[in-house]
């Protein structure tokens, strides 16, 4: 297990995200992992995927890593720049966005995400930023990918506050609320494994464990009765080509390593 470390966990997680992106997908991204994943995909198997930022940008050509979805480097070179109503309305609400990337301070077994409050809403223990674009992305993109830390604090059987709906309380809930058909969380990528959502129960189950993480350890750190896929397997490590793209083209200064300090190890 302690073989020479050829990659760091955030690189592996970014590659997991990239592999979920198909060629020609329209992808709404935030900063950090989502942008990295989408860029890896574009350099590998999905050259025609198009990224958009909710602030109004389509197909940006940034010359440095964007540090926010409104970053100055997203402006020059973009294919189109409008505003929130254009991206969130004309593209997302109108049903044209294939994939949204979200992260959550707290994520539950149905892929519901909390970015509003830890503790009581009116007397918060910790007040978080709020929805921003997350709720509409989780509601309206065809698929959502969720990035989260894998421990009993960050994962929950039920989030304190549903900022962004996943499958809410299980099968049929999105339909009951009139949300677009066949939408919802597609994968939950953590620092320990990749979870997917059961078609029937809508509950997250373990699809793959990262090298160095065991199924037992993962179950231990998951606060619901985690089902294991019959085809559970070790997560594919980043290929040499993926690592080359990350290190030589996308992130020559290794900024992705800040996620190690945030616990993504």
């Amino acid at each position: 297990m302690n073989e020479t470390k050829k990659y760091i966990k955030p690189e592996l997680m970014a590659c997991c995200g990239a592999r979920e992106i198909k060629d020609h997908d329209l992808v709404i991204v935030g900063t950090g992992f989502p942008t990295m994943s989408a860029n890896i995909a574009k350099h590998m198997h999905a050259p025609n995927a198009v990224m958009m930022q909710e602030s109004g940008v389509i197909d940006a050509k940034p010359k440095r890593p964007a540090l926010s979805v409104g970053d100055p480097c997203l402006n020059p070179g973009a294919a189109m720049i409008g505003g929130l109503v254009d991206i969130m309305g004309m593209f997302l609400q109108a049903g044209h966005v294939d994939l949204g990337f979200l992260s959550g301070s707290q994520v539950d077994q149905y892929g519901n995400i909390n970015t509003t409050v830890i503790g009581d809403y009116d007397a918060p223990k910790s007040r978080l930023p709020g929805s921003g674009g997350a709720n509409p992305i989780g509601s309206l993109a065809r698929k959502t990918l969720i990035i989260a830390l894998h421990d009993r604090k960050r994962l929950a059987a039920r989030v304190d506050f549903i900022t962004t709906p996943g499958y809410i309380d299980g099968p049929g809930a999105r339909e009951k609320w009139g949300m677009p058909k066949n939408t919802g969380p597609h994968a939950l990528i953590t620092n320990k494994g990749v979870l997917r959502f059961d078609d029937r129960t809508k509950q997250a189950y373990l699809d793959s464990y990262h090298p160095g993480n065991t199924i037992e350890e993962i179950c231990d750190h998951t606060p619901w009765d985690l089902k294991i896929s019959p085809t559970v397997h070790e997560t594919l490590v980043p290929t040499e080509e993926e690592l080359r793209v990350i290190r030589e083209i996308l992130d020559p200064f290794g900024m992705i390593s800040i996620y190690e300090k945030k616990g993504y190890v």
């Binding site: 602030s55 409104g70 505003g83 109503v85 969130m88 309305g89 674009g133 709720n135 509601s139 999105r174």
Partner: protein, 311 residues
């Protein structure tokens, strides 16, 4: 006919305690100098709105200007959670603000409805989330759910917003208030047009003829504008495309300062209360960090081709 005034005059004439303000800028083109002037004039009890707020709204909350916030999000981005926002909601310092929460789809749509004179607008987000289970000062009027009169489907309606005043920062405007902007739009255009009147802060004032050379860039026409302020470097530490970059180092300085109430007070004294206007602010910036740091923020030259509207 010229509406050009100083920021001090624009704010003292058109902003009163208790007003409902839309303040533009989505990281891009934040009207920071106007925000500093509002704080300096000790205007309070404001209701403020915009999608995705950051250090700008955090500072106003910390300075005690805000009573109510129609929000979607507030964070310091790269630098984490909004310190003043948290202190207000978790500890009631300086007081607990009232927050009405929407999303980056629904709030811009509410401003769009306001701009269009529509009473409300249907949105497809928020369904099934706890955003429908909490409301503050808008009470039952935060949203309504109806069966669509067209297909019977469950439909969420949110009300139009019409702020008393919008304050925006743009690249250029003429003396009458025709305001031109380029780059990331956020909810600036609809927010400005939803308001009853608009203060335009701009990097440069240009002639009416110059506006007419590329009129498609105008986002607010003069009729709604009550004041025009030429305020170079007016959105620092935010950015204005084609003029200057985001000042990430200053963002860190604000994060560190706002970590504590004492730090925030010192920050407000240094950068707001002891500063007369934006010119003094720039001078102070250069004294504090050096001219090289100031110049380093300046945008490169990368002009587009001229456009031709002739027939």
């Amino acid at each position: 006919m010229s509406k050009v005034v100083s920021m001090k005059e624009a704010i003292s004439t058109h902003v009163s305690s208790g007003d409902f303000l839309f303040i533009g800028g989505y990281i891009c083109r934040t009207p920071f100098s106007a925000i500093h002037e509002i704080i300096r004039q000790k205007i309070t009890d404001l209701t403020i709105t915009r999608s995705n707020a950051a250090d700008d709204f955090d500072l106003m909350i910390g300075a005690g200007c805000v009573r109510r916030f129609i929000s979607t999000f507030l964070s310091l981005g790269l630098y984490g959670l909004g310190r003043c926002y948290r202190r207000s909601l978790e500890k009631g310092i300086p007081h607990k603000i009232e927050v009405e929460e929407y999303t980056n789809l629904s709030l811009p749509m509410m401003l769009m409805a306001g701009a269009m004179g529509m009473p409300f607008v249907p949105v497809k987000d928020m369904a099934g989330s706890d955003l429908l289970n909490v409301s503050s000062f808008m009470g039952d009027n935060k949203y309504k759910i109806i069966d669509s009169p067209f297909d019977g489907g469950k439909t969420i309606l949110v009300p139009a917003l019409n702020p008393d005043l919008a304050i925006i920062h743009v690249q250029q405007a003429d003396e009458f208030g025709n305001a031109q902007m380029w780059g990331i739009g956020g909810d600036c255009m609809y927010g400005a047009n939803a308001a009853k009147k608009v203060i335009v802060s701009c990097e440069r004032i240009v002639s009416r003829d110059m506006i007419g050379k590329d009129p498609s860039r105008t986002i607010v026409a003069a009729s709604k504008v009550v004041a025009v302020v030429q305020e170079p470097f007016g959105s620092h530490p935010g950015y204005t495309p084609g003029f200057y970059d985001t000042d990430f180092a200053f963002g860190y300085l604000y994060q560190q300062a706002s970590n504590t109430e004492q730090g925030l007070d010192a920050f407000l004294k240094e950068w707001v209360y002891d500063i007369e206007d934006r010119t003094a602010y720039i001078q102070h910036y250069i004294q504090r960090f050096g001219y090289a740091a100031f110049k380093k923020l300046e945008a490169d030259f990368d002009y587009s081709f001229p456009v031709n509207y002739a027939y």
